[in-house]
Amino acid sequence: MWVYEKKLEYPVRVSGPDPKLAKTIITQYGGPDGELAASLRYLTQRYAAPINEAKATLTDIGTEELAHMEIVGAIFWKLIQGATKEQIMEAGLDPHYVDHGCNPFYVNGSGDSWDAKYIQTKGDIIVDLYEDLAAEEKARITYERLIQLSDDPLVNDTLKFLREREVVHFQRFGETLRITQEWKERKKFF
């Protein structure tokens, strides 16, 4: 189960309203390589994990991704605070505003809804871990492009933290894959 802590994993600060940036960043909330997708993918891959290291890693990274989703949601919300009607219209965020107000929603940068087809579990830990390694890399490059596009140093500070965590998760999934493969090799000599 999960218990809520009244804190963010990393502070979210913005320099001022920027609905245009908010509209691109929302993809890490509900887009194909976003934090919701990451969390749901890992958490549902746990059941067929044959070794404890993999169960623990999937659980903890799946949990941390939920905290990252909260961070991205906070960036979106803060970037819209104080925005003028003109800024919202100019950014093309008016349809979002009509449907969801200033709340973040599970959509990508083009406004398409989150889809379970973004993710997969094959029920085979090796196959799933390869998907997870790819997912972390896709999320990393997405953050790099967001940092490229953003002129807000405070937002970039938080995006850099999130990017760095993708690198760490990639590393941990790689170790999990190695440990699982070694375990499979050992099993042949029973």
């Binding site: 218990v3 802590e5 804190k7 963010l8 502070p11 290291e53 605070q81 760490v168």
Partner: protein, 94 residues
């Protein structure tokens, strides 16, 4: 429309200490999942985890529950604002 809030600086500084320490705990525990026998990492994790418990205890005594498991004295202070996404994080970060 601007609804960003600040805790008093002292509270935000304390929250920031918790955030820093807990991040170190998250990172070490994730490392330990794939290196369960690493004695140095275990030692670090133990020290960080003890520090985190102390910090959360202190924080809850002053400002009320940090999680729904925390205790509250006169009224249920868990509901108090600002919530994490509303804090400006400008005061206590230095």
């Amino acid at each position: 429309m601007n609804t960003l809030n600040n805790y008093p600086v002292a509270q935000e500084q304390m929250l920031y200490q918790i955030m820093k320490t807990e991040f170190a705990v998250i990172d070490t525990s994730l490392y330990l999942n794939t290196h369960p026998d690493d004695q140095i990492a275990l030692m670090n994790h133990r020290a960080l985890s003890q520090r985190l418990s102390l910090l959360i205890d202190q924080y809850e005594r002053l400002y009320g529950p940090f999680t729904p498991k925390g205790q509250s004295r006169y009224c249920w202070e868990f509901v108090n604002s600002p919530w994490p996404w509303e804090i400006s994080y400008q005061g206590g970060m230095k």
